[in-house]
């Protein structure tokens, strides 16, 4: 308990607000790398995911490739890339590592969102005379958006946790508190840094949760609530029989 109090005392000390090692500075660095990496992941993965979902082709290859890349330990990848590209390219190295980590989730969200759309709906859209482009943008993408946002959400969480490694190659971020404090055995700083990362992760997760609710089309939301209600109704008598 004492350690926790010490960590809070460290967190809320006025000294944390000034200088190059201040909390606002470190939070900005950490969030900056997270957001930048997420954007790059999205730019790469969303078009590919949409294509896979729409044409129903290439899924196995892409999933295997991105899954294998993600299985690489991030710290190892970071070190190897930094040795190959030099520490002068450290920001690029960090972004590549985080993009490798984030891309599979975004990809999965993008294609499974499109694949989750009822085939009857897609057929109906085609029957109405929509072009393939229109089918994608007016039917599949809006209906698949909640799953895509879910993919972005899990990618963001993984990146925000792993962005701790940026400190290993001199890029700062909240990991620098932890990396500095471990050899000095400053447990209050370690815990304080960890708390900051947790808070940042929760904030980002909450933002995406809100975004997910916002992008769920009203018709789908309504239908989902109705189906939940009917599910609950049908579940009640079933439970009764086992008693």
């Amino acid at each position: 308990m004492n350690l926790f109090v010490d960590a809070l005392a460290w967190l809320f000390s006025l000294d944390r607000l000034i200088g190059g090692n201040s909390i606002p500075q470190r939070v900005l660095e950490h969030a900056g790398y997270t957001v930048l990496s997420l954007i790059v992941s999205a730019v790469i993965a969303i078009p590919v995911g949409f294509a896979i979902g729409h044409f129903r082709r290439g899924r196995e290859v892409t999933v295997a490739l991105s899954g294998a890349a993600r299985a690489l330990p991030s710290l190892g990848l970071l070190t190897v890339l930094a040795l190959m590209l030099g520490l002068g390219a450290a920001p690029a190295v960090a972004v590549i590592v985080f993009v490798v980590l984030g891309t599979p989730s975004v990809l999965a969200g993008a294609y499974s969102g499109i694949e989750s759309v009822d085939p009857a709906t897609v057929k109906a859209a085609r029957a109405m005379g929509m072009t393939e482009w229109q089918v994608l943008w007016k039917v599949e993408v809006p209906l698949g958006l909640p799953l895509l946002v879910g993919g972005l959400r899990s990618a963001a969480l993984q990146i925000v946790a792993t962005a701790t490694l940026a400190a290993y190659i001199g890029l700062g971020g909240l990991g620098s508190y932890i990396f500095t404090a471990i050899p000095l055995r400053q447990y209050d700083v370690m815990l304080g840094g960890a708390i900051l990362i947790m808070v940042l992760a929760i904030v980002i997760d909450a933002l995406f949760a809100g975004l997910g609710r916002l992008v769920t089309p009203r018709g789908v939301r309504h239908r989902r609530r109705e189906s939940e209600r009917s599910l609950a109704l049908s579940a009640r008598p079933a439970r009764g029989t086992t008693l």
């Binding site: 520490l87 400190a167 190659i169």
Partner: protein
């Protein structure tokens, strides 16, 4: 219906509980500790998870074996947080250490930097059941290294020369160096040099050395016994003001063993200079030999075996 599937689970739980009770004995002792450390006459030699430290541990181990002791090797036990408790409890009897870092671990506020005063402070700082034997001339200390080109261009061979360098100095090292007394603060205090700091978390490893070579940083903190300093044509800057802590290699041993093995380990420390340590390390990094093979060859060459 529900009682039958539960019975095997209950039996399993009972068996596990019985096993747990047997394993823990009466529950008052550590079940993983050896039954009675020391009683078997075996000397346990430990080492850090650092290849150079393991080689030195192997030097101690082979000399002890040669003198007729049974030696058990427990190498690669992480860092001080992991092995100091094992030393204090008597689980490990002999451990190669570095005077300055060990003192800083035990007395974080220490201000001694030269070899003799670090050593004498260390004797007091260690718990009563641990004794440092004589320390070797060999050091594996933090040191600032620059490229040969930079050294030639600005005529820098010592930290004291840095103040006259007209370009900004960027220092790279482990993140905690920012807080250490020999980090940027020390450079300003001892040598009046303002530096920019870049954290590179690999303890003077390949990333740090590459950053020195490609000019991303002006100078980097690399351990002085690293063979790459010579092979990469780095210049290690002198420290005339004694900013860095002395890091002499010293065997830390259990107090009740100290008198029996003192002469054996002192003979090793006497021959172990920094140049010898670098050559031992080089055989590991470039020839990829095992610590046992490196130790046997060196001890034989020094006439310390047989």
């Amino acid at each position: 219906m529900s009682r039958i599937p539960n019975r095997p689970r209950l039996a399993l739980g009972a068996a596990a509980l019985a096993a747990a009770l047997t394993l823990t004995g009466c529950g008052a002792t550590d079940p993983l500790a050896p039954a009675d450390p020391g009683a078997t006459g075996t000397i346990v030699v430990g080492s850090q998870a650092y290849y150079s430290n393991e080689i030195v541990a192997e030097l101690y181990a082979q000399v002890l074996e040669d003198a007729g002791y049974d030696v058990e090797r427990r190498y690669q036990i992480g860092q001080r947080d992991a092995y100091i408790p094992a030393l204090e409890s008597g689980e490990v009897d002999v451990f190669p250490e570095y005077t300055g870092n060990l003192l800083q671990f035990l007395e974080p506020g220490t201000t001694s930097t030269d070899a003799a005063s670090v050593y004498s402070e260390l004797i007091d700082a260690l718990p009563d059941n641990l004794v440092p034997l004589a320390y070797a001339a060999a050091q594996d200390a933090d040191s600032y290294n620059i490229t040969l080109e930079f050294s030639n261009q600005y005529g820098v061979t010592s930290l004291a020369d840095l103040a006259g360098v007209p370009v900004p100095i960027i220092v790279g090292g482990n993140p905690e160096l920012a807080e250490r007394p020999y980090g940027p603060k020390g450079l300003l205090e001892y040598y009046g040099v303002e530096v920019e700091f870049v954290a590179i978390g690999d303890s003077g490893g390949p990333l740090t050395k590459q950053a020195i070579s490609d000019g991303t940083i002006t100078m980097g903190d690399v351990y002085s016994a690293d063979p790459d300093i010579a092979t990469s044509d780095f210049v290690t800057l002198d420290d005339p003001e004694g900013m860095f802590l002395a890091q002499n290699l010293v065997p830390i041993v259990s107090a009740d063993l100290a008198d029996d093995i003192r002469a054996l380990l002192d003979a090793v420390s006497e021959k172990l200079t920094t140049d010898e340590l670098v050559s031992l390390n080089l055989r590991s990094t470039s020839e990829q030999l095992s610590s046992a093979a490196i130790a046997t060859a060196w001890l034989t060459a020094m006439g310390l075996l047989g």
